[in-house]
């Protein structure tokens, strides 16, 4: 059974090929602890990160920059998780509070690890699921660590740079 799961050729009609999502919010911050600022567009630089963001490789001003990670150039978060937090835990969490860069709707982030997809003009490769941290509870003052386990977003590497705007499509690589 597990052997079958690990063999991509054995999968039938991967669900991940059937979606198209949209960019709802874009956020960056230049340094650890500072509030995320909403942006109408972001400039993604191949192999580096987001212009002006704390985790841009070479800038190293993020809370976790002392733990370098080449696959953490841009991070995504599901708008659906914000809805679920309100519905299931009565927690109001805004798109500026989860501290990922891109809030998307209609994109099954947990299915994308190891896959490539288009975010506006940029081509990304999903490297791993994001992990919640207590740091975000310190910043927001909200008990969101536990509710965010397994739905804390997606870390990605930028394979091809470009501009991403609010409203852009998020598409799988066909």
């Amino acid at each position: 059974m597990l052997d079958t799961l690990h063999d991509p050729s054995s999968r039938q009609s991967p669900v991940a090929l059937s979606w198209t999502g949209v960019v709802r919010y874009l956020h960056i911050t230049p340094r650890a602890f500072l509030p995320m600022r909403a942006m109408p567009e972001l400039r993604l630089v191949e192999g580096k990160g987001i212009e002006g963001d704390r985790y841009m490789i070479g800038r190293e001003e993020g809370f976790y920059s002392h733990k370098p990670e080449e696959g953490r150039q841009v991070t995504l978060f599901e708008l659906e998780t914000l809805v679920a937090l309100k519905r299931d835990a009565n927690i109001e969490l805004g798109p500026e509070e989860h501290r990922r860069n891109v809030t998307v709707e209609g994109v099954p982030l947990t299915h994308l690890v190891g896959r490539q997809f288009w975010l506006g003009e940029a081509l990304l490769e999903a490297t791993r699921l994001s992990i919640p941290c207590r740091h975000i509870e310190d910043i927001t003052g909200k008990a969101i660590f536990d509710p965010l386990i397994n739905r804390s977003g997606l870390n990605c590497r930028i394979l091809q740079g470009g501009t991403v705007r609010v409203g852009d499509a998020v598409r799988n690589v066909r």
Binding site: P30, R31, F33, L34, P35, H66
Partner: protein, 318 residues
Amino acid sequence: MKVTPITTIKTIVDTVEHAGAGVKLFSLVDPDRWELPPFRPCAHIDLHLPDGLVRTYSLCNDPADNNRYLIAVKREPAGRGGSARLHDHVKAGDRIGVSLPRGGLMLDADVSRFVFVAGGIGVTPFLSAASWLKRTGGADFTLHLVARGAPPLSRLLAPLQRSGHLVLHDTSTAARPEIAALIGRPSRKTAIACCGPASMIDDFEQASRDWPEACVHIERFVPPVLPADPDARPYTLALSRSNLETRVDPGQTMLAALLGLGIDIPASCCGGICGACKVDWLEGRPVHRDRVLSPAERARSLMVCVAGSDGDRLVLDL
């Protein structure tokens, strides 16, 4: 590139202003003028100064003014060195690491009136609250400031004087007012708060003993002296994630034991009032001696600077 962990908010000193006898007003901003983390009225921050000095100061500006942290520092020649360092060595353009803002008033929608009682430089936390209340118009308030002679921070107080919110009590020309007379009778629709020297805090605690606990807020300059516990016993402190153990002797703090293990714990007041050294606990029976955690928070966390153990073993989530 070797990068060290970032543990403080990077700020630069934008302006330094004389604000009365022995008082300076420091405005701290982000190097790129980015917004700073938000704070509640009456909140405070730690300043991380050279030589390991960490000092806590109240924020004086309106919480809506999120591009700076404004702190007022009175030079205390007989203090622990933080105010002298700031007065004598810190200038515009210097960098200072600060903590996330902590504490402040929990604003209850049912409260329609605030009474603030301040002694001297103890007026600082209420300046942010006063600005906030004036701007939002949600509740009436009176700020009683007890000072000998001219009060500090006259520029910041002037708008409150003009609007009739400030009542000055000059003890050089009149007797010190009775705290009970200032705060009035207990009411669930009134919140009262005090910041000042220890004697004023003691009087305020006495005068407010019949008030609902949720309506009383106290800001302290100096941590209260904890009485020695004659029944204190040694206990084992275990760190679950680090897989370390140490013995905490009677009279020794949990914080000292952790620092002895090489665990880097941010701490500031070391008296259980500032909230900097909060740690989650997992097993055992902690003895909470802080003045900052709510009962609900104590079910999960403790302040290592003052907490103890009622059992032989206490396990922390470190």
